[in-house]
């Protein structure tokens, strides 16, 4: 965006947000590499405007409730490790909005997104400007070295594209996040997102179409593709986000652990179990899927 567009974006965000929330959003820090962008393409004004608009989705569509935001460090590197689901990966967006709203000192959460986002026109630019980064190992390392708060979904696209019948059963975590958490001495914040798994019940995945379009999956839900683009709008389920106490594996396991693949695998499974437990507890506490009367 040029200077006028940036000012316009901030002016619009100021109109949308209550004054105190606008001030909070603007206070978020960006490692400006010059010209108003960080090295990964994040632009503060776009992020503030996106947060302002998405706040409505957060507040009125998904009516997000969250618990344990105090576990997320207000500075320094950290990994948010949640479950991933819902066909349309809105869970990451809701975590980002939630952290901007609930943390004492708000931070921009940097979500690692799948490779296919890189070649989608407009989507790639938007993702970059709001802080998302392609999930390459090097990017992950660089973000942690810059002391950023990184959201990583170790289930990958398999998690988002899992069938409705497998909801809240985690797909086995990839191990990459453990490797990087140990290498960069970053705490892991286990996170459970309850609600997203019901927002778009996936009945089938039409693999040939997905392959043809270069997407990781092509979903068939009760509403999509039957109702066209409208069918892609997620159901107004109620979201509950739980952040657990940080897991600081680097105290127990030194860099030599990285040579032991079995141990790394075991640690990934350990974090997965913590997230799975949090999901089970979260489901027990939940009164209903849509939570309209609550």
């Amino acid at each position: 965006m040029n200077r006028q567009q940036r000012q316009a974006a901030l002016a619009l965000a100021r109109k949308i947000l209550p004054p105190d929330e606008f001030e909070r959003a603007v206070s978020m820090e960006v490692n400006d590499a010059g010209f108003g962008y960080d090295a990964f393409g994040l632009e503060k004004e776009t992020t503030v405007l996106a947060l302002a608009v998405l706040r409505y989705v957060y507040k009125y569509w998904f009516r997000v409730e969250s618990h344990g935001a105090e576990h997320v460090p207000s500075k320094g590197r950290a990994l948010i490790v949640p479950n991933h689901s819902g066909v349309v990966p809105i869970d990451g967006v809701m975590i980002a909005v939630d952290l901007a709203n609930r943390m004492k000192k708000p931070r921009i959460a940097r979500a690692m997104v799948d490779n296919f986002a890189g070649f989608l026109p407009y989507v790639n630019v938007f993702f970059n400007r709001v802080g998302s980064v392609i999930g390459a190992r090097r990017n992950f390392s660089d973000l942690l070295e810059q002391d950023e708060l990184v959201v990583v979904f170790p289930e990958g696209t398999k998690g988002v594209g899992k069938p409705f019948s497998r909801r809240y059963n985690l797909v086995r975590f990839n191990v990459g996040f453990i490797e990087l958490a140990l290498r960069h001495r970053a705490p892991i914040i286990p996170t459970a997102v309850i609600g997203a798994e019901e927002q778009a019940p996936l009945l089938f995945n039409i693999r040939p179409i997905a392959r043809m379009l270069g997407f990781p999956y092509f979903p068939v839900t009760p509403f999509f593709p039957l109702l066209g683009p409208l069918g892609a709008i997620p159901l107004p389920v109620k979201y509950h986000i739980f952040y657990g106490p940080p897991i600081e594996l680097f105290h127990e396991y030194g860099p030599e652990t990285l040579d032991d693949l079995e141990k790394v695998r075991m640690l990934a499974d350990r974090v997965q179990m913590v997230v799975q437990d949090m999901i089970i507890k979260g489901l027990d506490q939940r009164k209903s899927v849509f939570g309209f009367g609550e």
Partner: protein, 320 residues
């Protein structure tokens, strides 16, 4: 390497280019340098008359012609100059691409390199390469280090193939015991009379880019180009490949705005034709085919190695 009291005597090929001219002038001002021998195809350009004649020697030589290259290395001028470092800048831009340009860019580099090794007195060979050698994909990491994949695709522009070939030729001689080879992979150099791709791109009053993409690019100031080459020449024992980039990093549209160019986004398949028409109408000297991927995907240069091993620190700011 020259011992501490010995001066650096430097041969620059392609000295009549913008970079060559600046470099020659800077080296002539440096007390560590004894003689600068500038080589280019044409007769001595007028602007070299300003340089001190006892420190700067110009010689016309086509490095593609075996006899001319041989004569240069056997000449009294060369012998008296006691050259111990060579900076190879004679690499034609995409604008002047033709059959002989491929020869110069690839075979010329090889012939020069072999001749330098044969002298056994030249201890350093510096080759100015470019970031176009890297392969860009949608899932690239944002920062590319020196070990990133090179672009060996068969369908890329011939000029990129030449860049990659020349880079590989220099790499293949890197285990030579007598001569340290330094490859400087530079990002997009922006400056007056520099013949770079992005320089030509942002010079145009209207620039076309693919719809839905706006990658970040690194710009490099001439000051930093000279700094990097000088460090490569003077740093004792320096050898290997180094990425060189400047301080300025921004999306294409932001740079276009600074350059006061109007940006028009078009569907990607239309761009080669539009670029061809623009060139035919004399509106630009930019070749879209070279930067097809660079206009879509961000790939910034990781200069960590150059900072650590050469002491390189970008200081220049690009002005439009």
């Amino acid at each position: 390497m020259p011992n501490r009291d010995q001066k650096f005597n430097v041969l620059i090929t392609g000295v009549s280019t913008s970079i060559g001219r600046h470099l020659a002038s800077h080296l002539c001002d440096d007390k560590r340098v004894g003689v600068v021998l500038g080589v280019a195809r044409d007769e001595k350009p007028y602007y070299f008359n300003d340089l001190p004649s006892d420190r700067f020697i110009y010689r016309a030589c086509d490095i593609l012609k075996y006899r001319e290259l041989n004569n240069l290395f056997l000449s009294r001028t060369f012998k008296e100059a006691q050259i111990n470092a060579v900076v190879h800048l004679a690499f034609k831009t995409r604008i002047s691409h033709a059959e002989d340009v491929h020869e110069l860019n690839v075979n010329g580099t090889k012939a020069l390199l072999e001749r330098c090794i044969a002298t056994q007195t030249i201890q350093k060979f510096i080759f100015k390469s470019s970031n176009t050698v890297y392969k860009l994909r949608p899932h690239n990491p944002v920062f590319m280090d020196e070990n990133s994949d090179l672009n060996f695709d068969t369908d890329v522009d011939q000029w990129i193939k030449d860049r990659v070939d020349a880079d590989m030729i220099c790499r293949s001689f890197m285990d030579n015991k007598h001569m340290n080879i330094v490859i400087l992979r530079m990002s997009n150099i922006i400056g007056r009379s520099v013949g770079g791709q992005f320089n030509a791109y942002f010079d145009s009053p209207v620039i076309f880019k693919p719809m839905g993409f706006n990658p970040l690019i690194n710009l490099l100031h001439m000051k930093d180009v000279i700094q990097a080459i000088r460090l490569a020449v003077f740093k004792r024992g320096a050898h290997g490949i180094f990425n060189i980039a400047g301080q300025d990093t921004a999306p294409i549209t932001t740079i276009a705005e600074l350059a006061r160019s109007r940006v028009v986004s078009l569907p990607e398949p239309v761009l080669p034709l539009v670029n061809w028409v623009q060139r035919k109408m004399g509106m630009t000297t930019y070749y879209y085919s070279v930067d097809r991927e660079r206009q879509k995907y961000t790939a910034l240069m990781d200069i960590g190695k150059a900072e650590r091993e050469l002491g390189y620190k970008p200081t220049g700011r690009v002005e439009f």
